[in-house]
Symmetry: D2
Subunit: 204 residues, 4 copies
């Protein structure tokens, strides 16, 4: 293999860890960067320094956000106009972003950071559920919508959280999940049985 | 172009009208058939004759079905075990098949045969709604589920039918639609806003 | 499964044997045909009858062709303007069609009908090589181009034919293969090693 | 839009300029980096610094390479075992890498850095042809293979270079191109006419 030179190789290996990046594209990134001016590379390095210095995890909703001030609540948690009695639990920041884009939800969020691994030994810690519990009490939450992806991992994590919430809050809180059924554009002829069952049960 | 010979060309043109078939595949079909024995072709021709002789449109649900007897009700409409007070309206036979495979629905069907074209001049006739009306009265239908594809044409057709039913039956019948939301396997990060809105509104 | 009716099911099974057709599309074909008028079905049946009556295998080049007269040579073999001293050996009719469309070849064809199966017990018979041999002698062929697909089966069949020809005609005939290298649109960065090697060896 | 925070947004914009990266994936990169430890980010920054300090353009073949020493020839140009009388001209480093992986070529390279833009005003400068000319003289090159992608831009650039070389070296150097024809795996039935023509002309 020709690229025995250390820096090219090491940088290629770093980019391979970026989400969705294979060896060939990682390699193209390195050549792309190698062809940039020192100024451009410095600019990228400065942004990475900024990222380190200005990225905080919101103590309230657990999401990562960027802020010059920092250490405080994120923009959403700091916004008094948002209804703190309704909480959506999401897996990650990009899910939150996607929900925010619809403009339909005016409540607050809690970001798990991940779905539960298949053989989680300490599931409550891994999902920071203690922090979630405190937030629910502090905000006097009345409704919780568990908004995870409609797949195996999403469903098992959602169930785990639901049971945790029932155990700790019995019936004080209304717990629900995002609705299941036909997504936009679905043709009936090509729908899977699971989706059709959900669409049937949730007919309205 | 080499294939000036009449039969090959004519047959290619016929296959091009088959659903989902382009010129290249139509051409492959013809060479495939040309390579078959006379016996095999005769077998296909006999099946086509059978199809003409044994395909009937069920006078009750309007679906095409094959029967040696014929002229009578289809298997589903003839089955007394099925609940005739609940009717699902579908676009076409393959939608009906797909719903039947789930085994969740125990009522009856009505097959429109198509969705409403964009500028339909006689929408009620095109969808055989007069026949639908008679069936509803005869069967004393109490609930109707409009089960069309979740796209523009499906939605406008569904609305048209709903309004027609309200006009003719006011509030005597419960009318609903297949539920909308996350279909199986959907990742939140990649969901379109419409689907997310539906999933939100149909949370439960 | 709902479609227990004989004709629908049998016809679906027939269409599943058409090249490139899966169960779902076979099923759509049946519903498509079931919805056609008796006239349309009769038209299709007549074309199938014509196909049986007017399809002949050219005794000279072995290709299937359609002709009202029949029993004689195909259009290409009957054309005195084509150079019978140069022969292209192809797998099937659609390969021949695709080559004819380029308009570059003015010689004659020989259609094998198939590639050699992996464990062929009687390879010479399966490829009708005896007929090929006679044609070569009759036409006083001076150059043979073996034009098979650039894959494993194509290559092993091409080699078998080459050896057969050398055995029977020693060095009287020039034998060659279609050139290998970069196909149109190929980007160097994404080329496989085999293609690059061929492109290198065939540089010019 | 939620992500009004400066650093996240700026970094997303930088990643959008990476080859093959759209807005959604750029955004995922930022959240991926935001979730890394300061140590990991520092490591990436150090590699970027190394990249700036250890990336050099080989004065001989013009390719970018990484070296602790630097300022000198690249590994390939410094290798006395490689035949300097045969030169391959490639567009970019990843094309060179792909050719090297085949292990078939034992000569030297010249990296253009890009293909000629459609309306190049100073094509000779843009492709550093003066440097190429000097290298050819210095190395007493006897054969040049122009190895560009088999598309419009590749072909017009290749022609421009060929004419330049003929003008400056008349017939002293053998100039050729990578061979055209069927690439590995090509099925004859689906080949484009251009590829078939090349395969025909380059039969052997």
């Amino acid at each position: 293999m020709i690229m025995a030179d250390d820096t090219f190789q090491k940088l290629t290996e770093v980019f391979r860890k970026f989400p969705g990046i294979g060896p060939r594209q990682a390699n193209r990134f390195v050549f792309f960067l190698a062809g940039l001016s020192k100024d451009n590379i410095d600019q990228l390095k400065n942004l990475l320094t900024d990222l380190t210095n200005t990225t905080f995890r919101c103590p309230d909703c657990r999401r990562l956000f960027s802020s010059q001030a920092g250490g405080h609540l994120c923009r959403l948690c700091a916004d008094p106009a948002r209804d703190q009695s309704h909480l959506i639990i999401v897996e990650k920041e990009s899910d939150l972003d996607n929900l925010e884009k619809t403009g339909i939800f005016k409540g607050r969020y809690f970001v798990l950071g991940k779905l539960l691994p298949l053989f989680a030994t300490q599931p409550e810690q891994e999902l920071s559920l203690e922090i979630l519990k405190k937030k629910i009490k502090k905000d006097k939450v009345k409704e919780i919508t568990i908004a995870l992806s409609a797949n195996l991992d999403g469903d098992s994590t959602a169930n785990f959280i639901k049971n945790y919430l029932i155990k700790h809050f019995t019936n004080q809180i209304k717990i629900n999940f995002l609705g299941r059924g036909l997504s936009s554009g679905t043709e009936l002829e090509y729908s899977d049985p699971e989706t059709l069952k959900n669409a049937w049960e949730n007919r309205k």
